[in-house]
């Protein structure tokens, strides 16, 4: 308690001890304890057993599929999510509110329903799948299909993080850029986008994290062919069905480590840019 006391500043904001204690307890119960249990479970195999399970070629292929498709999907979402946020904030057009509400649908829809709908469209006999098939492109049952499902579920994260920042960035800044002689392209590339960078990074991180963990919508469209279109979360479920709990925990631990490392780096970049730009002031 004396060590805690040092952080304790005299303050009119009430209840530091109570709220801080509650936060720690809650955080431990909800996040820390399950994750620690997961890691402990995976260590049950021993050092060699752990690496044998983690470096299994099928596991590596599944991890690669998961992270590569998630990165691509987050990248695509950043580009088009930013565009959508910009249109929704800067322009007034009939039906704007409906579009605005529709952005949230991937949040609300049960992911399995989304997966079935996407598969129906992109399967070789589906509406878009047919057209793609004529060009010799298969979408469903390949990493392309996985990426599309991940784009679908990740879009609202990007739009909803960029929208408020864009609303806060006054039109005057764009006008100032124009009065200084910048053309539209220069205004967007040198003024608008750089000032959105922190928000874009946050949106990217959220969309990426969601895509890596996504299960329901992906497994329908992925076809789940080992070494081709099998994602890591599915492999975990397969291991569980084989009653290979330790094996499942190993894959989960590796996913956890990679995700945590990536999100941590993104957070560092954000903290750095926030300090630089005096974010929000």
């Amino acid at each position: 308690m004396t060590r805690l006391g040092r952080f304790r500043q005299p303050s009119v904001i009430p209840g530091f001890g109570l709220t801080f204690g509650f936060t720690l307890t809650y955080f431990s119960l909800i996040i820390l304890v399950p994750l620690v249990a997961l890691v402990l479970r995976s260590t049950g195999l021993g050092w060699n057993g752990f690496w044998a399970a983690a470096l299994d070629p099928r596991v590596l292929a599944a991890l690669r599929t998961s992270f590569v498709t998630a990165l691509i999907a987050a990248g695509v979402n950043v580009v088009f999510g930013t565009l959508i946020a910009w249109v929704l904030v800067r322009y007034r057009f009939p039906g704007r509110r409906i579009f605005d509400a529709m952005v949230d649908l991937p949040f609300a829809l049960p992911t399995a329903v989304a997966g079935i709908a996407l598969t129906a469209i992109y399967a070789p006999n589906g509406f878009i799948g047919q057209i793609a098939a004529q060009f010799g492109i298969r979408i469903a049952y390949t990493p392309i299909g996985i990426t599309i499902a991940m784009i679908f579920i990740g879009l609202p994260f990007v739009v909803r993080t960029i929208q408020p920042i864009l609303e806060e960035t006054s039109k005057e800044v764009e006008e100032a850029s124009a009065t200084l002689g910048a053309n539209r392209f220069q205004t967007i590339s040198r003024v608008l986008l750089p000032s959105l960078t922190p928000a874009i990074l946050t949106g990217f991180a959220l969309a990426f994290a969601r895509a890596v963990g996504e299960y329901g919508s992906v497994i329908f469209i992925a076809g789940n062919i080992p070494f081709v279109s099998e994602i890591a979360p599915l492999l975990i479920v397969i291991r569980l069905e084989e009653f290979n709990y330790a094996g499942a925990a190993v894959i989960a631990t590796v996913m956890l480590a990679i995700s945590f490392a990536m999100l941590f780096v993104l957070n560092l970049i954000q903290a750095w840019s926030r300090r630089r730009y005096g974010y929000g002031s």
Partner: protein, 344 residues
């Protein structure tokens, strides 16, 4: 660069913001667009800048018709009320921006851009802060950066939209003096918008008083203050008191009481305007006589509110704060300088 605004009209969604406004701005002058909110002053400034297009009418820069040119081609410097600095750029990058975005053919070399930006930061007394970000500066400093940024492109006209509106009184006064100095040194044709009459009177070579989308009066601060051409201008610029009077045989009457002011032209009812400090206290009967309703000291003067004609009218007059009349319950006075407008 002279700027000529010719019969400009502007409507927003059919709602008229400016009615047929014409204004000639001389080269090198510092002119203030002054008016209450909604008078159309900012709209006029944005039309000159090219940030808005006029519904009708033309705007000339010198002999050249600028109406069809867009904001980039007009080469103006614009300073916004809330600075509109680029927050992801350092101060130096902000000031350099206008030169950096020029097409390659007219863009100075990198070292030259740096040199000019530093020179401007020196002019606005911010040397040493080149590497800071806008969020690390105070409001007054930010506005000076905004001015340096606008000056960097060597604008033909400098336009300022309530440049000191977001700053506190002390900083405002400092920046006002400082802007005047910069203007005298650089000689840019400058138009600035303000709703603060004190600012306009102190800073501008000429005032353009606006109300409800129209120009009420244009002139030097002294001529607008001393010879207001309309009741609106009289009421808006400086303090004013007003009384409904009657003109009869060259004398002014308030009801059945003569004001002791003679040699007035015209006949019938009129509205009398005078400044609270342009009065003299008299003992004669032929004067305005009022009961003191309230009296409060404001710095070096005492402002007395008087009820005239049995509380039908209230006027304010100013006395030196230590004047013995301030203690009385009744005061007789006569306006020294005044103006009559048709009765409302």
């Amino acid at each position: 660069m002279e700027v000529r605004v010719q019969n400009v009209r502007k409507e927003f969604d059919r709602f008229p913001a400016l009615h047929d406004v014409s204004l000639d701005i001389a080269s090198g002058e510092l002119i203030a667009l002054l008016g209450p909110s909604g008078s159309g002053k900012t709209t006029l400034l944005r039309l000159i800048a090219g940030l808005e297009r006029p519904t009708a009418g033309k705007i000339f820069f010198g002999a050249e018709d600028a109406s069809e040119k867009n904001v980039q081609e007009r080469n103006i410097g614009f300073v916004f009320q809330h600075y509109a600095l680029f927050r992801h750029m350092t101060i130096l990058e902000n000031v350099s921006f206008g030169l950096e975005v020029r097409p390659r053919a007219t863009r100075p070399a990198k070292a030259e851009i740096r040199r000019r930006a530093r020179e401007l930061l020196d002019l606005v007394q911010l040397s040493g802060l080149e590497k800071r970000y806008p969020s690390q500066l105070s409001g007054g400093q930010r506005q000076r950066v905004a001015l340096a940024r606008a000056l960097a492109i060597e604008p033909r006209v400098l336009l300022l939209d309530e440049p000191f509106g977001a700053l506190d009184a002390q900083v405002r006064r400092e920046l006002r003096k400082w802007l005047r100095e910069i203007h005298d040194r650089t000689g840019h044709t400058t138009v600035f918008v303000t709703h603060d009459q004190e600012e306009a009177l102190e800073l501008a070579d000429r005032l353009c008083v606006m109300s409800q989308g129209k120009i009420e009066q244009v002139g030097t601060p002294d001529s607008v203050y001393d010879h207001p051409q309309s009741p609106f201008v009289f009421g808006f610029i400086g303090e004013s008191s007003t009384l409904p009077v009657t003109v009869e045989r060259g004398d002014l009457w308030l009801g059945d009481r003569p004001l002791g002011v003679s040699g007035v032209e015209g006949n019938g009812p009129a509205q009398l305007y005078f400044r609270p400090h342009d009065i003299e206290l008299v003992e004669a009967d032929a004067a305005l006589r009022g009961v003191v309703a309230s009296s409060r000291r404001v710095g070096g003067t005492r402002r007395v509110e008087l009820e005239l004609g049995g509380s039908a009218h209230r006027v304010e007059i100013d006395l030196p704060f230590d004047h013995p009349a301030g203690e009385r319950s009744q005061i007789s006075f006569r306006p020294k300088r005044w103006k009559l407008f048709p009765a409302v």
